[in-house]
């Protein structure tokens, strides 16, 4: 990586690089805490293993719902669906997030991880819990899907495993906050924390709230499964479970946005146009995202209109506002950096000269686009109280969250890995040509999956259903869109397998880069005569971003009001 994009940090009051337990990064010059580095590696590797397991499950499921293929037997379909949900949404995401947290509280602050013992305990509990859950599922003792809605009942080890994973993650979050505290106390840095750490802190705060919901709902369910206490109310279960289920996805959003800022910076030298705006948007997430469990209860009995409307809009959509702000500030920061480097031709000259050969950069941009245009727009629309009537539990919902969690979060985590492995494992990637293609394969595949599901769902095809033939009402169009989903899934899983092979192959066989900077993936180059900071006072220079966000808002409005129109056409109901 060129020194133009990453300059060594200025000297701090303490010099941890020369103290034991630290090394200086040969690429960035940053001081890296060896303990943190070890646990970043452990958690990232565990995460990728669970991603691989979830990916194998994904292809089996897609090839079953693709009616022409219809691969699995019915009992194994629901078993593998349970397995897929837990490995993807819980294990892969949480392990990788712990790795991101350990990075964000140490390296940018030149700080030491608070406690390796606590990190061991956390990692051990999470891994034990995850293995317990997977074992119980494969043994056929927990065919209850991710949500395990009561009165469905799984083997007690299923709930105990989830509790272990949740508590283990909480312990890692404690290690994060303890590290922030000791870094501040020991003055390893002066001033405000960097933006990436700020975003990770927002994720950590939401994670605490989320995981407490998990404990509140899972502990009485576990004691019920043991026969010690009566059955919790199914409606109460739904409300609290979604306090875990939906908010945990908001942890992902925070972590993903922090990664967007990080990769934009690494690949193009982008810095926030306005730190206050970016940080304020993270604060909005913390304050308002908490109410999101209502999204799943919009057509439920027992909760009234006022409760549904207030909670599903996260109190006047202030968390949506936060995402829309990031959706502007992230591309704007890239555009400003590119323009300052001299790429000023027309509206989009900065786009065409961006470092597209860098898989971290292309992965980040695809993540931003898929998350915003597909995931965000569908999410807000389907989460509108009344519109949910024509969407609840259809494949439209699945289409939405495969755009957010997979096309958005997972792709961003994959993109970051193209820096994590060279910088932390200190080996350069093998098969660099294949790596450059990987984000496109995965992102393109997921886009097809998401669109196929969404259109099939609009035709009424239910989610979580083994077979649509017994209903006898789904015609050629529904089958076509399930086919689109199936083809997309094949492409995406090829991208996922390629990613896993690249990671494992590099960790085992990649060329060692200790003592020299990592092999550059491609960074934005400055043109002759350009000057960093030349546009610092031009608040209207991001013309391309303005055009893109205007298109976004137009798409949003069209999709949103088209859904109100579709709702107006069904039977009156209240």
């Amino acid at each position: 990586m060129s020194s133009a994009t990453l300059t060594p940090p200025p000297p701090a009051p303490l010099h941890p690089v020369s103290s034991p337990g630290f090394r200086r990064c040969d690429t960035t010059g940053l001081a890296v805490c060896s303990t943190a580095e070890r646990f970043i590696k452990f958690n990232a590797v565990a995460g990728v293993v669970f991603l691989l397991l979830g990916g194998i499950a994904a292809i089996l499921l897609a090839l079953t719902r693709w009616q022409v293929v219809h691969l699995l037997r019915v009992d194994w379909f629901y078993r593998i669906l349970t397995f897929h949900g837990l490995n993807m949404l819980i294990f892969w995401i949480l392990f990788f997030e712990v790795a991101v947290l350990y990075f964000a509280c140490t390296v940018p602050l030149k700080a030491r991880l608070y406690s390796p013992k606590v990190a061991w305990i956390s990692f051990g509990m999470m891994l034990t819990g995850a293995i317990m859950v997977n074992t119980v599922i494969i043994l056929g003792k927990a065919d209850v899907l991710l949500t395990s809605y009561l009165p469905l009942l799984a083997h007690p080890a299923f709930y105990l495993g989830i509790i272990l994973v949740a508590v283990g993650t909480l312990i890692a979050v404690f290690n994060y906050f303890a590290t922030l505290y000791t870094a501040k106390r020991d003055q390893t840095y002066v001033g405000s924390v960097p933006l990436v750490t700020f975003g990770a802190t927002a994720a950590a705060i939401i994670a605490v709230v989320t995981l407490l919901h998990g404990a509140i709902v899972m502990i009485p369910t576990f004691t019920y499964s043991m026969g010690w206490t009566p059955q919790p109310d199914p409606m109460w279960y739904r409300m609290i479970w979604w306090g875990l289920g939906h908010q945990s996805q908001q942890v992902n959003v925070c972590a993903m946005v922090a990664i967007w800022y990080l990769i934009a910076n690494l690949a193009t030298g982008a810095k926030p146009v306005n730190e206050t705006v970016c940080r304020g948007a993270f604060v909005l997430y913390i304050l308002f995202i908490n109410l999101a469990s209502a999204h799943h209860l919009l057509v439920d009995p027992g909760v009234g209109s006022a409760w549904k409307i207030w909670n599903t809009s996260y109190a006047m959509y202030l968390a949506v506002l936060a995402s829309m702000i990031h959706g502007f500030t992230v591309p704007a920061s890239v555009e400003m950096a590119m323009r300052e480097k001299g790429h000023v031709k027309g509206l989009f000259g900065w786009v065409t000269s961006a470092p597209w050969r860098n898989p971290a950069f292309s992965g980040f941009v695809l993540s931003l686009l898929i998350f915003g245009f597909i995931g965000g727009i569908t999410g807000v629309t389907l989460g509108t109280q009344q519109i949910n009537i024509i969407a609840h539990n259809t494949l439209r919902i699945t289409g939405h969250f495969h755009a957010t969690v997979v096309g958005g979060t997972t792709l961003a985590f994959m993109a970051l890995t193209y820096y994590v492995i060279p910088l932390m494992f200190r080996r350069d990637f093998i098969w660099r040509g294949a790596a450059r293609v990987q984000p496109w394969l995965f992102g393109g595949g997921i886009l097809l999956v998401s669109l196929g599901m969404s259109f099939a769902g609009s035709l009424g095809v239910p989610r979580r259903s083994y077979d649509i033939e017994p209903a006898g009402i789904f015609g050629g169009a529904a089958h076509l869109f399930l086919g689109v989903m199936g083809i997309g899934a094949v492409i995406a899983v090829i991208g996922l397998l390629l990613f896993a092979v690249l990671c494992v192959g590099t960790i085992l066989f990649g060329e060692k880069n200790a003592g020299r900077p990592m092999a550059d993936w491609g960074t934005a180059q400055a043109m002759v005569g350009s000057r960093v900071g030349s546009l610092a006072h031009d608040h209207w220079a991001m013309k391309g971003t303005m055009a893109l966000t205007a298109v976004f808002l137009a798409c949003f409005a069209v999709y949103y009001f088209a859904n109100w129109k579709a709702l107006a056409d069904v039977w009156p109901v209240r």
Partner: protein
């Protein structure tokens, strides 16, 4: 940069295009927020969540009573039941059937009671694509007005075990 400690004095009000975008996004969020209360009062499709506590046994008994009083025919062994216009209709969800078949009249309004005898189920009326959650212990009341004629299919869209995909019901509208 995002990884570095920001310069002192980073706390600044937004300006220029950024300020414009925040303003536009905020206005859009207000539009999104106001659409729901607007539709609650002026729109015809709402989910108010009207519900009453009921035990599965009591709901089964009410359904049987409703069938005895209003049965008009039979279809593949399942009774066809026609409630009085403006009256109550009962629909029981259980593994893995919707019981009974309902016969409704176009333009009339009914109070449709939904509940489950066992697990959670999903009431998904096709091809309209109207979806509501069905829980055991809750008598979920939909005040429903069929505005189109024909044979409508109820698909279960909440996972309820191995026969989930075969849990199909019917509503006939004349």
């Amino acid at each position: 940069m995002s990884l570095a400690i920001p310069d002192r004095g980073w706390y600044q009000a937004p300006a220029g295009a950024e300020k414009l975008w925040i303003g536009l996004a905020l206005i859009w969020c207000f539009v999104l927020s106001l659409m729901m209360p607007f539709w609650h009062f002026r729109g015809k499709q709402n989910s108010r969540g009207e519900a009453y506590a009921v035990t599965p046994a009591a709901f089964i008994a009410r359904t049987e009573k409703f069938i005895t009083a209003n049965k008009v025919g039979e279809r593949a062994g399942i009774p066809i039941v026609e409630p009085a216009p403006g009256g109550d209709a009962y629909l029981l969800a259980r593994m893995w059937a919707w019981y009974p078949v309902l016969k409704l009249r176009q333009g009339e309004t009914y109070r449709l009671h939904l509940s489950s005898a066992d697990l959670q189920h999903g009431f998904s009326l096709q091809p309209l694509n109207m979806n509501f959650q069905v829980l055991p212990g809750y008598d979920h009341v939909l005040t429903l007005t069929p505005t189109s004629k024909g044979e409508f299919t109820i698909v279960c869209n909440e996972f309820c075990g191995i026969g989930h995909d075969k849990m199909i019901g019917k509503i006939l509208v004349e």
